[in-house]
């Protein structure tokens, strides 16, 4: 963008034409002459008239419209489409002066505009007018039919304007690359030159505006697309080269809690979200969820649909449990149905922009954005879409765009133009598997937020929309019935495992009981043995004592002398007893 940053010294007058006042840093030069050139149907008259109307309506500046070519009643009738209410303005603030020379008039020598300018001056003074338009200067100059006279009259007008201090706009038809002296001369004479151009690209008509010169002021010298909207002409421009939007950390719900979870809390406020996918992948449903959620939060929402009537969308969404009716009734939700094959893409975005300004929504749905690409060159669409999304971002409007991807494959190319500038890109696709077609949702990207990389299955029913986990088995993503079977299988498997564990536990308990029982047998047996041992020991002890006693009794009875050797008479017997006891054990 070529932009001269010279200090603005020239006083200016706002045209009120959106975008134009921005690129010229304040509008047209006040008290000077501006030339608006262009071929037929470029919007010269509209530009001039709109400047007058805006001046009258906004700045309470009266204006005079001098029509050299068209009948004034016709101009007023044509402008009625813009809703400017010219008849009311014409009574107080605007004068339409029919300056068409009667076609029956005969020319007999040179004439001039002294009288006309005198008349206009008296009128302008009486009205305290500050702006004047000379519409169709080429017609007047054509009548003069003499370069010298033309130059003279152009001079005269310029002088007159500077004398009266009126801000003048002269419109002038040109065709193609006109080398006519008249246009060059006019361009030199005036302080500001604006060129309007009408061109047809791939069957679509585009209007452009370019400021060619502007004395004493900086301006943007680029060619800008202009559109004719219901409110008049508007110019689309990129705004300052530096992007300076306010960025919000606020999250707003997508209308689907699972999706919010996947996005760490939902969409960012003021971001643009692209939902792309093949026909029937529930793009509109996701957009509808978002719109309904916005309305529930009490936010004004605009739902723009292409080639599908509002009533049809409301009905379709109702079938999946999304109810627009109460929001439409409360006025929070506005629906706008447009035809995709209408005016060119720039005009469509222009119309859309105007509606957005009118309704001032917090949330916006465009379903589908790609409808516009059917009658636009790729570049033109991308450019227009880019500018539009840029505008929404400036306004802090959260927008969900859907984009139709041709074919049923996973072609992600078509949406590239828009996806590059999308903050969040959600892709919905079909997965065909085991004789079924299921919907899969993935988040391709989401700026400034962690997001799940998982594929989720999107299911629709009259109760609503759900996102389900999908399973991977043998390297395949399982969805639909396969997923259900997998879930059933998993449940059955878990049950089997549980039963097996219980069985094992019982078996072990049994084994434990058996072991305990065996232990009891052994212990009892041990007790029995111990008892036996005790009995045996007792018996042995008695026998030995008996033997000693017996022997002593016997010796006494025999009267034998005492063996004097210590232990001589007991040792052999003790030895024998030991041997005998051993034998017992």
């Amino acid at each position: 963008m070529k932009s001269r940053s010279a200090p603005v010294t020239v006083p200016k007058v706002l045209t009120g034409i959106r975008g134009f006042d921005d690129i010229t840093a304040g509008g047209l030069p006040r008290g000077r002459t501006t030339l608006v050139m262009g071929g037929p149907g470029c919007g010269k008259t509209v530009f001039a008239l709109q400047t007058l109307v805006n001046g009258a309506r906004r700045d309470k500046e009266a204006g005079v419209f001098v029509a050299f070519e068209e009948e004034t009643s016709q101009i007023v009738a044509n402008a009625s489409t813009f809703g400017w209410d010219l008849p009311a303005l014409a009574r107080k603030k605007l004068l339409f002066f029919d300056a068409r020379l009667s076609p029956d008039a005969i020319k007999a020598g040179e004439f001039d505009l002294v009288g006309l300018l005198g008349l206009l001056r008296s009128k302008a003074d009486a009205m305290h007018a500050t702006r004047i338009v000379f519409d169709g200067m080429d017609v007047l100059l054509g009548l003069l039919d003499n370069p010298a006279a033309e130059h003279r009259e152009i001079y005269r007008i310029r002088e007159w304007l500077s004398e009266t201090g009126l801000t003048g706009i002269i419109t002038q038809k040109v065709g193609g690359n006109n080398g006519d002296h008249r246009y060059h001369f006019l361009q030199f004479m005036v302080d500001c030159v604006i060129m309007l151009r009408h061109q047809v690209v791939d069957g679509s008509a585009f209007r452009n505006l370019r400021v060619i010169k502007y004395r004493g002021s900086g301006f943007s010298a680029d060619e800008f697309p202009i559109t004719l909207t219901a409110a008049g002409l508007q110019l689309t421009h990129r705004g300052p080269t530096e992007l300076t939007y306010a960025v919000s950390d606020e999250r707003i719900s997508s209308g689907l809690s699972r999706l919010d979870h996947m996005l760490q809390g939902g969409y960012h406020r003021g971001s643009n979200i692209l939902i792309s996918g093949a026909p029937g992948t529930a793009k509109s449903t996701l957009a509808g969820l978002f719109a309904a959620a916005a309305c529930v939060r009490g936010e004004r929402t605009l739902y723009v649909s292409f080639d599908e009537g509002a009533a049809q969308i409301v009905r379709n969404l109702r079938s999946v449990g999304i109810h627009f009716a109460p929001h439409l009734k409360s006025g929070l939700l506005q629906m706008l149905s447009m035809r995709s094959r209408g005016p060119n893409v720039v005009d469509q975005f222009g119309a859309l922009r105007a509606r957005v300004r009118d309704l001032n929504p917090r949330c916006l749905v465009i379903d589908p954005l790609s409808a516009l690409s059917t009658n636009a060159t790729h570049l033109a669409l991308a450019d227009a879409a880019h500018l539009f999304l840029d505008f929404l971002k400036m306004e802090g409007i959260t927008v969900v765009n859907t984009s139709l991807v041709d074919g049923v494959g996973t072609d992600e190319v078509t949406a590239t133009a828009i996806s590059a500038i999308a903050d969040t890109w959600i892709q919905v696709s079909y997965v065909v598997q085991d004789g079924e077609r299921n919907r899969a949702l993935t988040i391709v990207k989401s700026r400034g937020t962690w997001h799940s990389n998982q594929v989720r299955e999107l299911t629709l029913s009259s109760e609503g929309v759900t996102l389900a986990d999908v399973f991977i088995a043998q390297g395949k993503v399982l969805m639909g019935v396969a997923r259900w079977e997998w879930e059933q299988e998993e449940q059955a498997g878990a049950k089997r495992t549980h039963v097996a564990a219980e069985l094992k536990r019982l078996q072990l308990q049994l084994a434990q009981a058996e072991a305990a029982a065996r232990l009891e047998v052994v212990r009892t047996e041990m007790e029995a043995r111990s008892a036996e041992i005790a009995v045996l020991a007792d018996a042995t002890g008695s026998a030995s004592t008996l033997l000693k006693t017996d022997r002593a009794v016997l010796r006494k009875m025999r009267h034998a002398d005492e063996d004097v050797r210590p232990g001589a008479h007991t040792a052999p017997r003790a030895r024998a007893a030991t041997v005998g006891r051993r034998r017992v054990h």
């Binding site: 005969i106 007999a108 020598g109 004439f111 002294v114 009288g115 006309l116 005198g118 001056r121 009548l143």
Partner: protein
Amino acid sequence: MGTAVRRPAKLWLRLYVAGQAPNSVRAIGNVKAICLEHFASRHRLEIVDVLQHPQRGLTDGIIVTPTLVKLLPLPVRRVVGNLSDTNQLLLALTSTGNPAPIPRRRRL
């Protein structure tokens, strides 16, 4: 061409001028000369200065100056210019058929 057809009806002309603008001054001279030469005393000439009387100019739809309007005899005829083209002027003042239109430059 150029032959004045004398008619019994009185000629009523009104010339709209813009102050002392050269074309206006010349037109006044030209119209007076023509009247004197071709219509003698059977004419009435009004001169309106639109700078002095803008409302009259506005009401009568005067766009360029000078403009001569032939009010009588009918049909009403308008002639623009300083009236130096005597042939065109006489044609306008005397003919009753369709006037020669102003040659227009090819539309661009």
